[in-house]
Subunit: 162 residues, 2 copies
DNA sequence: CGTGTTATCCTGAATCAATCAAGATAAGCG
DNA sequence: CGCTTATCTTGATTGATTCAGGATAACACG
């Protein structure tokens, strides 16, 4: 039922010693076609291709693919887990504080060195994750309306590395 | 039972039209003395000062204080909600992927401009949050042992703005 | 192409942080 | 000091995620 058998994915799973199963392929395609979708959306999308797939197989597939590095799991504070297939390409996220919508930020202005902590507290740092919090265009009108009551000069504030 | 009645906190609550209650003061002090603690730890710490306080009052107090901007709620992926009293001072976090321990990073090397997205997708960006993922000193031995089996040149990789 | 091993999936139940609801209490104004 | 109502208490509920045991099928091997 999976029309496009992704050869790269097949090989990647195989190389990692993981079995190539229909649920896994369907879950991967669902993530691919629904970037930043939460688990329930992935579940629905997976069932569109493989109607009989179980709830558990999708959870398990997402975890396995994430651990294999084939999908990336993100979870902005207060949000459900979300998944995407873009991995290892140095991008970050922009999250709407109103509706939770997520967009990709290909890179930040500036170079990687700016993402080095000044004191690593003895940690071995493996990754720097940047999340931009804001209000998306669709939700902006609501925010404007709500803010109209108490608009002040502080609204001029835009990005701050807070 | 609250030995040190924080005058600043008292005023801040009052100015915001919020009532100054023992549970709120105790919750604030618990957060202050247990940086990055999760809700259960805050609950226990609050009860050390105010034994009869309810579960709900602590949840409510944390939410109220967070909405008032008096405490900051952070929630690294896969972790429970954590709280801290440092607000508005431009700092970020370093999270251990093994034990979940959180440390503060006062600032990143480089300037705020490096934390401006290159394409805001129509969002009004209010804040940039940086989370460094790594392994803390206490957990490092475990990681070393686990990695010994398959150590490769890629282990040289340190920070990347991934 | 058969066969065996076991990773993976399915069904169904459990977990548990967090939230909701309704009545009781007390903060703070006049 | 008394009134209003924000806040707290008690108790139940939600809901994403995980756990468990038996059934199925991927794939290594002969």
């Amino acid at each position: 039922m999976i029309e496009s058998v992704n050869p790269d994915l097949h090989d990647a799973l195989h190389t990692l010693g993981l079995r190539v199963t229909e649920p896994r392929l369907a879950v991967f395609e669902a993530v691919q076609s629904h970037p930043h979708a939460d688990t329930e959306t992935i579940l629905d999308a997976t069932r569109a291709a493989l109607p009989s797939v179980s709830h558990q197989a999708v959870y398990d597939g997402l975890r396995t693919l994430a651990e294999a590095g084939l999908v990336r799991r993100i979870q902005p504070a207060g949000s459900l887990a979300r998944y995407e297939v873009r991995v290892g390409d140095n991008h970050h996220h922009l999250v709407c504080q109103v509706c939770g919508r997520v967009e990709d930020i290909d890179c930040v202005v500036g170079e990687a060195p700016c993402l080095t902590p000044n004191d690593d507290h003895g940690f071995v740092v493996q990754q720097a994750e940047v999340t931009f919090w804001g209000t998306c265009a669709d939700c902006a009108p609501d925010a404007d309306r709500a803010a109209d009551a108490g608009r002040t000069a502080t609204d001029d504030r835009t990005t701050s590395a807070d």
